[in-house]
Amino acid sequence: MNTGFPYLTVLVLLPAGAALLTAVLPSRSRALMRAVGWAGSLATLGVAVAATVAFSSGDGNFQMVTVHPWISALGISWALGVDGISLFLVLMTAVLFPVAMGGSGRHGGDKSFVAWMLLLEAGCLGSFLSLDLLVFFLFFELTLVPVYFLITGWGYERRGYAATKFFLYTLGASAFLLVGILSLVGLHAQQTGVTTFDVRQLASTHLTGTEGVLLFLAFTAAFAVKAPIFPFHTWSPDAYRESPAAGAVVLAGVMAKLGTYGIIRFDLELFPRAVVTLAPVLLTLGVIGIIYGGIVAAVQRDLKRLVAYSSLAHLGFIVVGAFALTGPALSGAVLQMVNHGIYTAALFLLIAMIYRRLGSFSTKDLTGLQRKAPVLAGIFTLTMLASIGVPGLNGFVGEFLILSGTFLTHRWWAVAATAGVIVAAIYLLWAYQQVFHGTPTEKEESFTEITWREGLYMAPLVGIIVFLGVFPGPVLNRITPSVDRLVTHVEHVAHANIPAPGQPVVAASHSANGGNK
């Protein structure tokens, strides 16, 4: 129990409060709104940094835990906690929001834009920090509303279609998650007489093989859509394409991680046996996502759609890392979630800069930008190389850990996934050649170099890309204990008590408890 400063509650309530403040301020001054937005998100970043400093490395359990009863009639409590798996996702979220708000030019001062962004930040942080399944679900769903309004309010031509598709797709999948959560809680209440949504207690629920698999599928349906995992990705290219720059940054950078985080936090923790049973299926989907995403990205002529499909491929890596069920692969997956968030955000921001200057996302309309803006081209190159996974940049560390960790247990999947790295190099380099090389036509003559303001919000991202590439140690040190605890938990539950076919399942309470204390 944490007796000191309630970091986590503040992390969730601070942006929510700032959103409310923005909404009720009787002014529509852009400067003021922008200032409130910056103040809110930067203060949140400050708290996140402080929480990271206060986080003690080497401890794999949840830290800074806060529990307050909320709806006691239903056993729902405001339970927040952070461990190595969520810590850096929280930090990444706190970094990306001010950056995204900085990266959204004129409308960045719109009152409601700022309010929705801050509310979205609260929703994302709440999802990463919740230990109570229902509170998690609430925040998980809450994120849909601001994104819907962000896309419809400030998106591109087909924003209504894209936003509605996104909303309905994810809401539909969440139906399964909610019923899954309630079923799990019901089973737990039947066994223990205690109605609780606390994931730490629910992990000790005894599930028969079928129950486990069904619940796993119910949970994973929602996460697979949110991430998205192939073949549940069809909403994402549209949503990313039609979002404003900030929306795309948050959708791909932060919200995609809600899905993969959900898989690691809840699927692995709650249904270890089902995870082991179904791992090959998910690994295969991950690998298909990697290859398919890469190939489809290669034929895109629209830069945003290209990044959307490349995102699908990178999320495939994370899925492979999560279901390889080895320490290194899982650490790699967690790290890769952060990496992907950072460089995808950077790519979307750079694409937005190009659009702002020339009004196009299409590789057909763009050429020779390198001559006009070498620094911008340089940053693009660096980000792109990180995305490809070149050593020395952050993408490499994550992908290497995932592939080497997966190779230990699932050799052929690792081999197939490696092919994806090559495909990624192909489509990104093609796109780069198209857009940056060559001779600028008269249209590109007006193309200008990156401004100081743009540089200001790109700088932290570039810094993180390089830092994590050369010096991932401090981060991995904090991730690994939690990951090890989780992997031990999964192995314990899944392997200690595998029931013989046709034989009733023996309770696995000791192992589950042991792994989760």
């Binding site: 409601s112 849909l144 419809t152 309010g153 209504g160 019923v179 019901g186 937005a352």
Partner: protein, 552 residues
């Protein structure tokens, strides 16, 4: 207790405090009618509305006193020769009915004044209808349920037909009346058969009879219960007895629709839950599968047919059918938790539907006719507060988190999961997602540009995004602080679309400012605040509903 008079007719002791809320409403209704009939000086509509609201407040206080009596220290009781039961469950519905009257009086006030409908009829009928719903909730005897049903229904038939200038209104009243009369007849026949099978019309006695007797052939009883179920399902608009709903909802004057949607669900579900949960509890195995099918049909029909509607009133009619399906989930669970869940859902839904139809009343404009979805285009930009309120109410109906709508769905789905109706739970949530599509459509239209600005210039703002008339966008969803200047935001010079708005926008401004009465706005504000506040801090309503148990 029972005094025998000389003629041999037993006059029961009447505990007037137990039926005080009903009496207050009926009394208020009579006072209103008398004032209207005497009509010395033409009383302004505002006075009638205030009287009606005050009656509602009085009934609310009486209801809270009853609640305290039942809940704090005292105990549930039966009254008037056991034909009424005063327990947490009935008092909760009494309190809810009183709230509905208060909010609905405020909302109707603006409408009546705008349309120039003088006289106390609307309020008098509404008060009478609400007293019927209260009676249904407190009834412990089929005869009393029937009385309540008729006292509630007949004013609703009249309310539906109240707007004489529109033929649809008369048609709605007629349709509602004819079909309602049919369903009442079926209901009475159900009472007769049940009486034949069990020898009583008293709910508790029937429950006792069924608990102690095992009948070898219970065809008569099942037929009776089935007919009763049909009668109830008609009132709550469950499929396949929903045919009247879209036409009546669309045709009735809009504030009457909101009131009707709220109060008919209250009365119908209060009695339905009580009868099936306490009297026919032992027949659970027979009615649970039937309700499963009915719930699925109701959920799916409401959601799917709602998708294709272009008229917002009609759309909300289908949405109310979808909600009825959710409430049935709680009954289908046949558990104490399911009861509480259904009660909670009815509570939450009543406020949502009142607020939604209040917004529709405002947008409908003079004559109450512009209900096509296109009339909502740009509403949130012209009237940010109103738009925000409607967005909250619609999103809550779609089940957005941190609103009461979500918690209602959560509660009933949990009850369903607890009774192992997993498939039903999944179907319900999926239809919720389908229904979200049509709520979102309205929200999207509200937040898109007004018709004149349909093709905004593709201004390349330095944000990289399409600048859609940038300044109005700033007003989007700004929940507060916009009331002064928020009616029509002046377009900034750099937005070329702004000039085009000029003429059309001015007209809209005048039309919009005509329709909004402060009382209606207050009614909407109450429902929105209820939805948000209890969505974020749900403990009070949850413990209230949790405590509202049945006596039997």
């Amino acid at each position: 207790m029972i005094l025998a008079s000389a003629t041999g007719f037993a006059v029961p002791h009447i505990d007037y405090t137990a039926i005080l809320p009903e009496l207050i409403l009926i009394g208020g209704s009579l006072v209103l009618l008398a004032a209207g009939a005497l009509n010395v000086r033409h009383l302004p509509t505002r006075v009638y509305s205030l009287l009606s609201g005050a009656t509602g407040v009085a009934a609310l206080i009486a209801g809270i006193v009853l609640w305290q009596k039942v809940h704090g220290g005292g105990h549930p009781l039966t009254a008037v020769a056991h034909s009424l039961v005063i327990d947490g469950f009935s008092t909760a519905f009494v309190i809810l009915s009183a709230c509905i009257i208060i909010v609905s009086s405020a909302i109707a006030d603006g409408y009546l004044r705008r349309e120039g409908i003088a006289g106390p009829e609307f309020h008098a009928l509404a008060l009478l209808g609400a007293s019927g719903a209260m009676l249904m909730a407190a009834a412990n005897d089929f005869i009393v349920i029937f009385l309540g049903l008729e006292i509630m229904s007949i004013p609703l038939y009249v309310l539906a037909a109240l707007d004489q200038r529109r033929a649809e209104s008369g048609e709605a009243g007629m349709k509602y009346f004819v079909l309602g009369a049919f369903s009442s007849a079926i209901f009475v026949y159900g009472i007769a058969l049940t009486y034949g099978a069990t020898g009583s019309t008293n709910l508790a006695q029937i429950a006792g009879y069924l608990a102690t007797n095992v009948s070898t052939s219970n065809g008569l009883l099942l037929a009776g219960a089935g007919l009763l179920l049909v009668g109830f399902l008609f009132k709550v608009a469950a499929v396949p007895f929903h045919m009247w709903t879209p036409d009546v909802y669309q045709g009735a004057p809009t504030p009457a629709t909101g009131f009707m949607a709220a109060i008919a669900k209250v009365g119908g579900f209060a009695a339905l839950l009580r009868v099936f949960f306490s009297s026919f509890h032992s027949l659970e195995a027979s009615w649970q599968p039937i309700l499963w099918v009915v719930a699925v049909l109701t959920l799916v029909t409401g959601a799917v047919l709602g998708l294709v509607q272009r008229d917002v009133k009609r759309m909300l009619a289908y949405s109310s059918i979808n909600h009825a399906g959710f409430i049935l989930l709680g009954l289908q669970a046949a558990s104490r938790e399911g009861m509480s869940a259904s009660l909670y859902y009815v509570f939450v839904y009543a406020f949502l539907v009142l607020g939604s139809f209040a917004v529709i009343t405002v947008v409908g404009g003079r004559g109450d006719t512009s209900h096509a979805i296109e009339s909502y285009r740009g509403l949130a930009r012209r009237q940010p507060l109103l738009g925000f309120g409607f967005a909250v109410l619609l999103l809550a109906q779609a089940g957005a988190p941190f609103t009461t709508g979500f918690l209602g769905k959560l509660y009933v789905v949990e009850a369903a999961v607890r009774s192992h109706s997993y498939a039903l739970a999944v179907i319900a949530m999926l239809t919720g997602a389908v229904a979200a599509a049509f709520y979102l459509r309205v929200v999207f239209v509200m937040y898109s540009l007004p018709a004149g600005e349909a093709a905004p210039a593709m201004a390349l703002a330095d944000g990289g995004a399409l600048a859609t008339g940038t300044e109005p966008a700033a007003a989007v969803a700004a929940p507060a602080g916009e009331s002064r200047g928020g009616v029509l935001v002046a377009a900034p010079p750099e937005a070329p679309a702004g000039a085009a708005t000029g003429a059309g926008g001015g007209l809209r401004l005048r039309a919009a400012s005509l329709g909004i009465a402060p009382s209606t706005l207050a009614g909407i504000a109450v429902t929105v605040l209820f939805t948000l506040a209890l969505g974020i801090w749900p403990a009070p309503l949850f413990s209230f509903v949790h405590a509202a148990g049945l006596l039997f």
